[in-house]
């Protein structure tokens, strides 16, 4: 295991600490960490009406922005979080508007 994997593992543990579920939450609440310019995990599945909460573990600001711009966070600083509720089934791509090569997906079913 590389140091980076360990760091990421710790981070994900932190991101889910206190939450009743893992990142693919049974109660409809998923968590995504923003780490080293990646969304982790890059794909989460939630039920209709569920939420995703993103937490920025980077020093750099990032955003969570729908590819169709239907929703967007402001610039998230280190440790800031953003939550969005998804009310219709579908596969939704999002990205970071500051670093557009950071892309990931929310599946609502």
């Amino acid at each position: 295991m590389t140091w980076r994997t360990i760091a990421l593992g710790s981070l994900l543990a932190l991101a889910t600490a206190g939450a009743p579920t893992a990142s693919h939450g049974g109660d409809g609440a998923a968590r995504v960490a923003i780490h080293e310019f990646h969304f982790e995990p890059a794909r989460v599945t939630i039920p209709v009406g569920g939420t995703v909460t993103w937490s920025n573990a980077d020093e750099e600001a990032h955003t969570v922005t729908a590819s169709d711009r239907s929703y967007s966070s402001d610039g998230l600083e280190h440790a800031e979080v953003f939550t969005h509720r998804f009310t219709a089934p579908g596969t939704y791509q999002y990205f970071c508007a500051l670093h557009p090569h950071m892309t990931a997906t929310v599946v609502v079913q």
Binding site: D58, E59, S67, G75, Q93
Partner: protein, 301 residues
């Protein structure tokens, strides 16, 4: 993937307090003392990536280093005719950040400050606030050109095309305008281009490139002296390609790692003493008939 070793061979790293210049494609350097400004027709300065609102661990006092950067501009031996800000005025368009910057930059002793936006200045609203403040006298998304004492200056905007999976680009409209803008100029006209994201492919894996930058570069190749200034990557980096010289500038707020030298391009944490050597501004001297322009780095320490 880019072959980093080959890629690095194309670059020359500038040292603190050195003036770099190139003749017949060969890079040479002189110390500041040897390169007094006497004889320069005029000088201008570049400030970049002020990131007003940044408060991360990489620099807990970005307002202080911005103030010190302004002091460095005001201490230049020849007052700059004007100052070019190459974008990321704000950090994430935080409320009040544009106002704070405007107020802070009033302390710069110069006739005029010209701007191009960085992605931090436009990502929330597509550039609406930026253009309302700085768009006067510019075209399209804020691009512009002007002449100063025989030198043609062009400000290009390459941060308005961002969408999922797609980074900086100039776009067809701006490239068409650039072609028309350059058309009447003779090849002996010195050209200075300033933009936020590097026009050339510094490190595409980190988004440090302009997708259609090569098209603009192609239009510039016929000129005898072209100086391209950019920000975005928060470090001094230079490349020479024929008569074109490319210069990436320091930030006043925080440094970023060398291309590929870290897992990601996030703010680089360094010792307090080293930080001031990695932040600063830049002076550019123009002397008629002495192409290329002399670029003098002015770090804070």
């Amino acid at each position: 993937m880019i072959d980093r070793r080959r890629f690095m061979q194309c670059l020359a790293w500038a040292g603190t307090g050195l003036v770099w210049s190139a003749h017949a494609g060969r890079l040479s350097s002189a110390t500041l003392a040897e390169a007094a400004p006497a004889g320069s027709d005029f000088t201008f300065a570049q400030i970049s990536d002020t990131h007003v609102g940044f408060a991360g661990d990489a620099n807990r006092n970005a307002a202080g280093t911005l103030a010190d950067s302004i002091a460095a501009l005001n201490a230049l031996p020849t007052p700059p005719a004007f100052v070019i800000h190459t974008g990321d005025l704000t950090h994430g368009q935080k409320a009040g950040a544009f106002d704070t910057l405007a107020e802070t930059l009033k302390a710069v002793r110069t006739e005029r400050i010209v701007y191009v936006p960085g992605e931090h200045d436009v990502f929330l609203d597509g550039g609406k606030e930026y253009l309302a403040r700085y768009g006067r006298g510019t075209l399209g998304g804020g691009w512009q050109s002007f002449d100063y004492r025989g030198v043609h200056f062009v400000g290009l905007v390459n941060v308005l095309t961002y969408k999922a999976g797609v980074g900086g680009a100039l776009g067809v409209d701006q490239l068409d305008w650039l072609k028309k803008d350059l058309a009447p100029l003779g090849t002996s006209t010195p050209v200075v281009v300033f933009t936020h994201v590097p026009l050339w492919a510094v490190y595409p894996a980190w988004g440090w490139t302009t997708a259609d930058g090569e098209e603009a570069i192609g239009m510039l190749r016929r000129f005898g002296s072209v100086t391209v200034l950019n920000g975005h990557i928060h470090q001094v980096l230079q490349k020479i390609e024929g008569n074109l010289t490319f210069h990436s500038a320091r930030s006043t707020a925080f440094p970023q790692p060398a291309p590929g030298a870290a897992p990601s391009p996030g703010p680089m944490k360094v010792e307090a003493e080293q930080l001031r050597r990695l932040l600063g501004v830049r002076e550019v001297r123009y002397t008629e008939g002495a192409a290329p322009l002399a670029v003098v780095e002015r770090p804070l320490a």
